[in-house]
Structure formats: structure tokens, C-alpha cells
């Protein structure tokens, strides 16, 4: 039997030592509910399972050239990321409850928290959350807890995939969730300011926003703070290689999806939710936090800290129900950021912007293709107006080998001809040129 060590002989010896039979050990299970053998297939050998899974994997089309983003991006991943993250000492360990034998994991998380603080220019960060969507939800709960208020304003330029999650999570709770409608591709200042009052816990916005437009939220931070509310900014960590940070804008909490930091797309997960905040909010933070300390001889070491916030101590009064974080994904992000370093991250972000700008010029030069928004500045994603239905065009480009973008009709009314195009540093000038030719050909037919 695979993965089971004891031989029949050993099992007999052990049962004799216990003084019971195997049936005795399961005697507490009510006879009426005992299994008479599961209807499962026979076990497979490693050779058979690899061959079978290779066949299944081959049914997935990964040969498309990706201009598809929407918050989830095809970035380059250095080989050293997976080589180090796949060391058994990291991935077969668990939560560092015993710090003396978990310094590897603990120090890596501390370094991760430090890097997230430096990326966002905020004071404190936790050890990670599940993903970018649940990170927004946790930030929202944290803001309500910190302000003792229950109204939240979210602009519809925040990723709609995350906004539908917020709606699901808040359905059974007494939360007033107000959605403002973007104005020309930017968070709608007029609507947000009109809704903002002294019952508001937080304003949630995104940079670059879902349409790829670059935002500056200092005005919103000021307005939110004036009524005692918090500003939550969801951000794309690669963009922070060059863009103004949530901290510099006055945001109180920054969250985001860390997939772009060295994690494969893997059909949606596992990913990485990151969270950073102002120091005064640290005791309201969800999830694990690692802190530096010393041992009896004064040697530096790391431990899980501020655990009095957490579910295993506080139970129903905890700041969140979260237990597991995404430690291995946070490790990958730490590896990625260490390898790229200060200059590498800046160059990668600039390269994304440069290539997106080139793609924008090429694609908007096609007759009938126009930028949808007047907003001048975008990072690596932009919205095009096509002369016909975007979903139709995207379908036809798939036949030509391109995942050319995301049709916005799925989430936004009146945008059925709109396509969101993403460009990462992985896309070459040649690929961009080929996309432009294919789009032109498809539109002419």
C-alpha cells in the first residue's frame, strides 16, 4: 500500500501490544453507519497516475498568447523561486507553533512582512491572507471593527470579481454596502464624497483600478479621515515598483493579490492575499503576525506574536476566523522580491508600462478601435472600444492563438464592446505586433 509504512507483521505486533483488535478500535462507530466498502476506483501506480494526469493536463490550452489580466497576470518567474520554495524543509513544515524548530519559516515571514511594508510604505503587515478578494473583505471587517461603524463605500472600479465576493460575505450581516459608479474610468469622487459621512467605516478603492487607470487617492484619504473613516486601497504589487504607494497617499490599509509576485496562475490558486496598515491598527489586524525577539542568551529569533487577537485564543471574539495563511505563497513572493531586488522590481514595472503603452498605440491605430476612457494614464492594462461585441472578437482571436483580453460586458452595463487588454513584461514586441495584425484581420472580416 503506498504511503503506509507498517507491514502486516508489525500491525499484528502493535495490536497485541494494545490488546485490542482492529475492529475493537472502530467499535464506537454506530453499526448502522459503517461503510461496506467505498465505491471508489482501484488505486493507481505512480506511473499510471502521471500518465493519466498528463493526458488531462493536455486538454487545457496553454498555448495561447496571453493579453488576459483582470487582476491575474502572466509574469515571468525566475527558476530560483520554485527551486527554493520546493525545498521539503519549507513546504512540509506547518505553522511555526514551536519557534525553536521553525526559525526558517518565521524569519522568512518576517522578511516578507518587511518587504510588504516597503512596497506599500505602510508600517505593519501580516503573514498573509488567502487571496486579494478575501483580503479586501478582511480589511473591510477590520475597518468596521476599528471605527465601530458599519457603512462601507466601494467604487465599481474595484475588481468586480472581488465586489461580488463582498456582497456574498455581507449578506447575513448588518452592513450597509454602498457602490459608487466610476466616472470616466476613475473612482467617482462626487458620489463617494456624497455618501461619506460619520457612519462610514471605510472607502474601498483600487490602484491601478480594474480598468488599468492609475489613480491618486490623497484627496479621498483626506476626506475619509475628516469624518473618521479609513481608506482601504487594493493594489497590484508589481505596479508599486514605480507607482505612488498607498502609504504616500495616506491610505490606512493596503491589500492586494500577490499572485504576480512569483506565483503561477494555476487556474485560480493558491494565491496570496497581502495586507499592510498603519501601526495604530496592528491590534485589529486579522491573521498571523511574526515578530522579532531574543532568547535567553540574547540571540535574535522570531515568534508568532499578538496572538491574543486570534481565534485559537479569543474564539468567537477573535478579529477574524482565519487560521492557515498562505505561508508558502508568501515565501515565493519573498523569493521573487529578493531576486528582483530594488532595481529589478522598478525595471519590471517600467517594462510592463512601456510594453502596454506600445500595445495601446498599435491597437488604437487599427481603424474602428478606440480607447474607451479619456483617462490619460494607465499602468499595464487599458480598455478598448471595439466596433462590435468584444466577446465575439475575443472568441475569434482565440482561434488565432490569442487570449486578447477580457470582455467587460460580464460585469459592466453598456460596455459590451469593451475589451480589457493586459500586457506584462513577458509579451514581446513581436507578439504585440501579431496581436494587432490578428485584431485588424478579425475586425475586417
Amino acid at each position: 500500500m503506498p504511503f503506509i509504512a507498517n507491514t502486516d507483521e508489525q500491525r499484528r505486533e502493535m495490536l497485541a501490544a494494545i490488546g485490542l483488535s482492529m475492529d475493537d478500535l472502530f467499535a464506537a462507530i454506530p453499526p448502522a453507519a459503517r461503510c461496506q466498502g467505498l465505491n471508489l476506483p482501484k488505486g493507481l501506480s505512480e506511473q499510471a497516475v502521471r500518465s493519466r494526469l498528463a493526458d488531462i493536463a493536455a486538454k487545457n490550452h496553454i498555448d495561447l498568447t496571453l493579453f488576459l489580466g483582470g487582476g491575474f497576470y502572466d509574469h515571468f518567474i525566475p527558476a530560483a523561486v520554485s527551486a527554493l520554495a520546493s525545498r521539503g524543509e519549507f513546504y512540509t513544515a506547518y505553522t511555526p507553533y514551536q519557534p525553536e524548530v521553525s526559525q526558517g519559516t518565521l524569519q522568512a515571514i518576517y522578511e516578507y512582512q518587511s518587504m510588504i511594508c516597503r512596497l506599500t510604505e505602510l508600517d505593519v503587515a501580516n503573514a498573509s491572507l488567502y487571496d486579494g478578494g478575501t483580503a479586501i473583505y478582511e480589511a473591510m471587517m477590520m475597518a468596521m471593527n476599528a471605527t465601530d461603524r458599519s457603512k462601507v463605500i466601494v467604487d465599481d472600479s474595484v475588481n468586480p470579481i472581488y465586489r461580488v465576493m463582498l456582497e456574498s460575505y455581507t449578506r447575513n450581516l448588518h452592513i450597509e454596502l454602498v457602490t459608487s459608479t466610476n466616472a470616466g474610468g476613475h473612482a467617482n469622487r462626487a458620489e463617494i464624497l456624497a455618501a461619506l459621512d460619520n457612519r462610514t467605516a471605510a472607502v474601498i478603492v483600487q490602484n491601478p483600478n480594474f480598468f488599468g487607470c492609475i489613480e491618486e487617492f490623497s484627496d479621498l484619504a483626506e476626506a475619509a479621515h475628516a469624518v473618521g473613516a479609513l481608506l482601504i486601497v487594493s493594489c497590484y504589487p508589481i505596479s508599486l515598483g514605480i507607482l505612488k504607494t498607498p502609504g504616500a497617499m495616506g491610505a490606512d490599509i493596503a491589500v492586494g493579490e500577490g499572485q504576480s509576485l512569483g506565483l503561477s496562475m494555476s487556474f485560480g490558486g493558491p494565491y496570496l492575499g497581502f495586507m499592510a496598515a498603519r501601526e495604530k491598527l496592528v491590534r485589529k489586524m486579522p491573521g498571523r503576525i511574526v515578530g522579532e525577539t531574543v532568547d535567553g542568551q540574547g540571540r535574535r529569533g522570531f515568534v508568532l506574536t499578538l496572538q491574543a487577537r486570534e481565534q485559537h485564543i479569543k474564539r468567537e471574539r477573535a478579529t477574524s476566523n482565519i487560521c492557515s495563511n498562505e505561508a508558502l505563497c508568501a515565501l515565493s513572493a519573498t523569493l521573487y522580491l529578493s531576486l528582483l531586488g530594488k532595481e529589478g522590481l522598478r525595471e519590471t514595472a517600467q517594462l510592463c508600462a512601456d510594453k502596454a503603452s506600445y500595445a495601446y498605440q498599435r491597437l488604437t491605430a487599427i481603424p474602428g478601435v478606440k480607447p474607451h476612457f479619456r483617462a490619460k494614464w494607465f499602468f499595464n492594462e487599458f480598455v478598448l472600444d471595439l466596433p462590435c461585441e468584444a466577446s465575439e472578437v475575443i472568441g475569434r482571436l482565440i482561434e488565432r492563438g490569442f487570449a486578447a483580453g477580457f470582455p467587460l460586458s460580464r460585469y459592466y452595463e453598456g460596455m459590451s464592446n469593451c475589451m480589457l487588454v493586459a500586457v506584462t513584461e513577458k509579451r514581446t514586441k513581436t507578439e504585440i505586433g501579431m496581436l494587432a495584425e490578428a485584431l485588424e484581420a478579425v475586425l475586417c472580416n
Binding site: 495561447l64 507553533y97 524548530v101 519559516t105 511594508c117 485559537h312 487560521c323
Partner: protein, 492 residues
């Protein structure tokens, strides 16, 4: 050990980024840019490799050490599952592809894995349908409670309270509370099970449901579990099965057959996906027939022509609890594991897990207190209460002594209902030889507690750092690196 930031050398580079092959570099408006680059470390690739290799050596892990952390099911993680999760056909698959026109046809392999995993988990648990979306056990709990709430809303029930035994994991009350319910704790009786008389007293029309871990955190299977389910059903309540301990009963009984309505599974426990130093996990949720309509969107279905599709049109669904399909690559690993074990293997897992735990219990109960003197399931809860009283050696001291003997400690001080608890879960992947070595170490430590307790208070002595000052960590909070200037103050 130095931090990676302290190894940084200005101007040093790790990897070279891709070529700038487009004609122009764009100058974004300065007001939108950060003033200085993020202060990340500047290192060569070899510096980074050495740093993290050195860090990895400061961990105990299943690959390197016996890791009997109770309640966490630290079984061996098959290497083949890692290999398969890295197949480009899975790893390079963009999650938004199915939302493109005819995009479902581009991801048939991934949809097949999720569809078949749903069927496999239904068979193992006796439930009617699963969602793969929850990204950890606690996330599964929250999803399950949201389904419970949706059910009561649909029935017009006014329910306010969720009952949870006092021996439960902390995630249970936390999940029920953040979903909007009042939590009431049901006490344990003398035998460590839920007090049935108290449960009857607490059973009112306000009870939305009960969350039960079975076997419970004492490693005991409650023989009255079906009766408990009936009691909760009598007030139209929903019974939630916390699958943390499914490893004990896989192939022996099924939560669905016992009367449970909602189940979450921890794929990183029972189904051998790596714990990753604290995640990622995966917490699929299965439900009984009458709750299937409330499962999150989307759901994978198989069409008549044999192809797979995502179904979004589910008006009674609780909605989206994850952006896509959950931690797909974790689900994939667990799928590989189930295929390799097959029908017989699943049952052998439970048998060997339970056998190993009882063997440890039988060999140690003369030197350690036991929470309840009954055969256990997949884990046994020992206690150092007498050692603490007689010798001043606590569960923590025993656990640190184990570290010096090359074993990861058991879970300590949990469940909260047992003083000086040492919760040992060997799992089925460990051999008798390993257990014998662990038992010998535990016996030696119990003896040492009498002869030289001071030695145990000083343990561990073989690790890179000794016992760490947790009070200082919380008081002088330092959770992100700030470089110091020569004067010892933080640099601005």
C-alpha cells in the same frame, strides 16, 4: 542569522529582467509615481539561494523529522503530487479563460479534475455535492455557516444561535460569529464527549445548528453522534461536520450516513497536500441534498456530450466566496492522492492512523496522564499534569525536550479542556520503528522529569535559538525590519 536586508550590497543585482524591445519608454506623470524605489535587498542570485537554503535548515519538517502535531495530520506529502501540480497544462492556466466565449473548451482538463474530485469526495463523505472554493479549513467553516444561514433564510426561520462543544477548535466559534451568529458553548461530560443532557437543555427554536468535530479533539468518536444529529434536526437545525479529523474514519463511516448536513474537509490534512509552513490549504465543503441549491457559484457540471462546463445560474446560491475555483493546485494534489490510494487505500489510511495513535497511547499511559482512559481514534491526548505537580515539569518542557531528541513536539495545551495537554497524532505514514523511537524519547523525558527537571527547563539546547521571549515580542513590537544607524536608533 542575518536578515536578508542586512546582506544587501548597493548596486548588486540578482536576475536580469526581460529585454526592453519596444521603441519607447513611457514617462508617467511624476505625481503618480513613488519618490524612491521600494527598498528591497540588493543581492546576487547565489546570495538569495544561500540565504534561503540556510533558512530552510532552521526548520523541522515532515521530510526531515517525525512531526506528530495533534489535530494537524502531518502525514507524508507524496512527491508525485508536486510534480503533477507543476505540469504546465495546470500551472500555466489562466483562471479567467472559462469566462471567455467558448473558453470552457480551453480548460476541459481542469474542469474534469474538479468534477471528478466532487464525485470522489461525495463518495468518501456521503454528501450530495461539493464546492472546491474554500481556500482553507476555516474558510470552509465560514462557507458552511453561510450555507446554513441561507437555508434558514429560505425557510423563513428566525435562528440566532450556533452551538459548539467546548472542546472545539477556535475556528468554529470564530467562523460562526463572523457569519453573524451568537455562539453558545456546550460543555463536555466526564468521558470527554459532548454533554447530551446539557445539549437537550440548550436546544431551542433559536438554534440554527451545531458544529461538531468527530472524532473530537480528544481523539474520541462520540457513539451518540446519530442521536445528536436527530436532536438538532428536531428544531430544523443544521448539523455541521468539522472534517479536521476525517483521517480517523475515512472508509469506515461517512458523515452523510451519520446524519450530518454540511461537511468541510481539510485537504492538507486527510488528503496529504503540503502544509507549506502554514498554508496554502484547501477546505472543500460538501452538503446534503436539501442544501445543494445554496452552494457557491460556479459549479462544474458534465454535459450530455461528455464535456464539462461551469454553471453560474444558481439563484439560491450564497454567491462567490473565492474569485474562482478555490486553491485549484491544492485540490489537484489531493485528487492525485485519492486516485493513488483508491478504495482499499483510503480504508487502510484510517486503520493505520488509528492503530499508530493507540500504540503510542498504550506505550505511554503508564508514565503520562491520559485525558480519558479509552481507546482513541487517530490521535491521543496525554497530559503532563502529574509531572507538573510532582516535578514542576510542564507539557511545554516535555515538548522542548523532544526537540533535542530530534522530534517535532505534539500539539500542547490543546484541547483547552485538558490541563497540560500533549496531543499526539502520528498519522498512518509513520512506521513502528519511528513510533518506538518517539515512545522511548517520551519515556526518557518522563524519567528525566523526576531525576533532573532543571535540564528540561533549559531545553532545547540543540537548536539555533533557545526558548524565545514571547512577552518581549508582543511588548516591544518589531514586525518589520527598520535599519538602525550607528547610534542605535531607527533610520528615517
Amino acid at each position: 542569522m542575518q536578515l536578508i536586508f542586512e546582506k544587501s550590497v548597493p548596486g548588486r543585482r540578482g536576475i536580469r529582467v526581460a529585454e526592453q524591445d519596444v521603441p519607447d519608454s513611457i514617462n508617467l506623470n511624476a505625481g503618480l509615481l513613488r519618490e524612491t524605489p521600494a527598498d528591497l535587498p540588493e543581492l546576487s542570485e547565489l546570495d538569495v539561494v544561500r540565504h534561503f537554503t540556510a533558512l530552510s535548515r532552521r526548520n523541522f519538517s515532515v521530510d526531515s523529522h517525525f512531526y506528530p502535531l495533534g489535530s494537524c495530520t502531518m502525514k507524508y506529502n507524496p512527491k508525485v503530487a508536486e510534480r503533477i501540480a507543476g505540469y504546465p497544462g495546470f500551472a500555466h492556466l489562466h483562471p479567467l479563460l472559462p469566462q471567455l466565449r467558448l473558453g470552457g473548451s480551453l480548460t476541459q482538463g481542469a474542469l474534469q479534475v474538479m468534477y471528478e474530485m466532487d464525485l470522489l469526495l461525495r463518495e468518501i463523505t456521503g454528501m450530495a455535492g461539493f464546492t472546491m472554493q474554500p481556500m482553507a479549513g476555516a474558510h470552509g467553516e465560514l462557507t458552511g455557516i453561510m450555507i446554513m444561514a441561507a437555508y434558514h433564510r429560505a425557510r423563513g426561520n428566525r435562528k440566532t444561535t450556533v452551538l459548539i462543544p467546548d472542546s472545539a477548535h477556535g475556528t468554529n466559534p470564530a467562523s460562526a460569529a463572523i457569519a453573524g451568529y451568537t455562539v453558545k458553548s456546550v460543555p463536555s461530560d466526564a468521558s470527554g464527549g459532548m454533554d447530551l443532557a446539557k445539549l437537550r437543555e440548550m436546544l431551542t427554536d433559536e438554534v440554527a445548528g451545531l458544529m461538531l468535530t468527530c472524532p473530537n479533539t480528544l481523539g474520541l468518536f462520540n457513539p451518540h453522534v446519530s442521536e445528536i444529529c436527530e436532536l438538532i434536526h428536531s428544531v430544523d437545525g443544521v448539523v455541521y461536520y468539522d472534517g479536521a479529523n476525517l483521517n480517523a474514519i475515512m472508509g469506515k463511516t461517512r458523515p452523510g450516513d451519520l446524519g450530518f448536513d454540511i461537511v468541510h474537509l481539510n485537504l492538507h490534512k486527510s488528503f496529504a497536500t503540503p502544509h507549506g509552513g502554514g498554508g496554502p490549504g484547501a477546505g472543500p465543503v460538501g452538503v446534503a441534498e436539501r442544501l445543494v441549491e445554496f452552494l457557491p457559484v460556479s459549479v462544474v457540471v458534465k454535459r450530455e456530450d461528455g464535456t464539462y462546463a461551469l454553471e453560474y445560474d444558481r439563484p439560491n446560491s450564497i454567491g462567490y466566496i473565492a474569485p474562482f475555483y478555490g486553491n485549484f493546485a491544492v485540490v489537484l494534489r489531493a485528487y492525485v492522492y485519492i486516485l493513488m490510494l483508491g478504495r482499499e487505500g483510503i480504508e487502510r489510511v484510517a486503520e493505520n492512523a488509528v492503530l499508530n495513535a493507540n500504540y503510542v497511547l498504550a506505550k505511554l499511559k503508564d508514565l503520562y496522564d491520559v485525558a480519558v482512559d479509552l481507546p482513541c481514534m487517530h490521535e491521543c491526548v496525554l497530559s503532563a499534569e502529574t509531572l507538573a505537580k510532582d516535578c514542576g515539569v510542564r507539557a511545554l518542557d516535555i515538548s522542548k525536550g523532544l526537540i533535542d531528541r530530534g522530534f517535532h513536539p505534539p500539539t500542547v495545551y490543546f484541547p483547552l479542556t485538558v490541563h497540560e495537554a500533549l496531543m499526539v497524532e502520528p498519522t498512518e505514514t509513520e512506521s513502528k520503528e519511528t513510533l518506538d523511537a518517539f515512545i522511548a524519547a517520551m519515556r526518557e523525558l518522563a524519567e528525566l522529569a523526576h531525576t533532573n527537571p532543571e535540564a528540561l527547563h533549559e531545553a532545547p539546547v540543540s537548536t539555533p535559538v533557545g526558548r524565545l521571549n514571547e512577552t518581549k515580542a508582543a511588548r516591544d513590537l518589531n514586525i518589520a525590519y527598520t535599519p538602525l544607524c550607528d547610534c542605535g536608533n531607527p533610520l528615517e
